[in-house]
Amino acid sequence: MSETNEKIIEVKNLVKHYGKFHAVEDVSFDVFRGDVFGFLGPNGAGKSTTIRTMLSLIKPTSGQIKLFGKELLKNRNYILQRIGCIVEKPDFYKYLSAEKNIEIFARLSGINVTRKKVHEIIEFVGLKGREKDKLGGFSHGMKQRLGIAQTLVHDPELIILDEPTTGLDPQGIIDIRNLILQLKNEQKKTVLLSSHILSEIELIANRMVIINKGKTIVQGSVTDLLNAQDLIVSFSVDNIEKAKQSIENAGMDVSIDKIENNHLLLHIAQEKIPVINKLFCDNGVNVYSIEAKRKLEDYFLKLINA
């Protein structure tokens, strides 16, 4: 999916120790131009620490970070001009208006931002009409939107979002997701998105890395990583016993995951779904619904518990 092979972010063997505590042990990954890159890991895996080192908020103990093909610490200002980010929470000055907050951060971005641009960005994230309101009265969702406005106002090439959907309601999550997709498709931005929620990454990212306990576990294209996995398929049938019997009789290599009410949960690959369905039909089992779920959470847990 990557449009070019230009590496925007290159993290190699990153290590960060806080005294005896090893926050990041060995993290490596590459992000290419045009990617929406998912940065996954459970709480405490070292995601935020990695992002902080990438933004030069903290210095790594060892390892190499290159952004836009340049060494981070030696070209800090060059690199930071081309990045827009939210680190952890979207924090703003409570006593200033939305517009003033954006202006303050835009002024330090190293790029001249016009007042018109500030208004355009605020409109883009759906906060039109609230420009003059003080941040103190903003809800979390609105601050999150303003956070995104802040990342975009100086037109950066790379956008780093650290858990942008935490604490949002379902509509807020969908809105943020659409914003990110818009950025990728219309403005051709590269986005790095950290999250501990897999389904979210699955929906918008094209490549991802999973880290746990400060180490890279797996890296690659989201579709490749997920399609390699079996699915959990729930068959709603009228006669569980008969259905089980027919599978056993056919001598198929299928493991039965669970039986819930009239649902038979099977652990199978995607291409086996029609085969099983046909088998049930042939054996006179009535199928009311078939629902396939990715074993994503399981896959994730398996990886991080390994």
Binding site: S56, L96, G110
Partner: protein
């Protein structure tokens, strides 16, 4: 970049409600002192002049604007730094408490520049507070009480400073107060 950051700091100080607490407090305290002096200033003065009345005779306007300004500046030497620290102490820790420091440090500006621009903005705020205080004490004091020679009682005894001699002393004092 440094000046842009300094400009930002000015905007922040101007928008913070607490920045006006100091100005309001000084206005209030000075107002009370000026009012009290206007109402019963002579008995306060006689408390100082009484021991000398046997040997000296005082002429002219003793309770004048210069004396009021002197008394006020002496009295507020403890209060003003507190009022100033209310704002300047919040310049950095406030960013930390709100979490905005993280965003600020991911901008292409060095930490030293941020620190110095905050220092500069803090100095400017201090200067404005002192200017306001000086205006209230000296200008308003002179309007209310008129001008005259300044009597100062210190450990060496009673010192009389000529009226013409005073202006430059106040000017020299103001940078010293900022330093303070």
């Amino acid at each position: 970049m440094f000046w842009k950051s300094t400009y930002n700091e000015f905007i922040k100080i101007a928008a913070k409600p607490r920045s006006y607490i100091g100005i309001a407090a000084i206005t209030l305290i000075l107002g009370i002192i000026l009012f009290a002096m206007k109402a019963d200033g002579m008995s306060f003065i006689s408390f100082v002049t009484q021991p000398f009345e046997q040997s000296l005779s005082f002429e002219g306007n003793i309770l004048n604007g210069n004396l009021i300004a002197f008394i006020i500046l002496q009295m507020l030497i403890i209060h003003v730094p507190l009022l100033i620290a209310l704002v300047t102490g919040d310049l950095i820790s406030g960013e930390g408490a709100m979490g905005t420091i993280r965003l600020l440090l991911t901008k292409p500006i060095s930490r030293t520049s941020i620190l110095f621009s905050k220092y500069l903005a803090g100095c400017a705020y201090t200067f404005i507070i002192l200017l306001w205080m000086g205006f209230l004490a000296l200008v308003v004091g002179k309007l209310l009480f008129g001008s005259g020679d300044l009597l100062v009682l210190n450990s060496d005894g009673l010192i009389v400073l000529q009226e013409q001699d005073l202006a430059w002393r106040f000017y020299v004092d103001s940078p010293l107060l900022i330093y303070h």
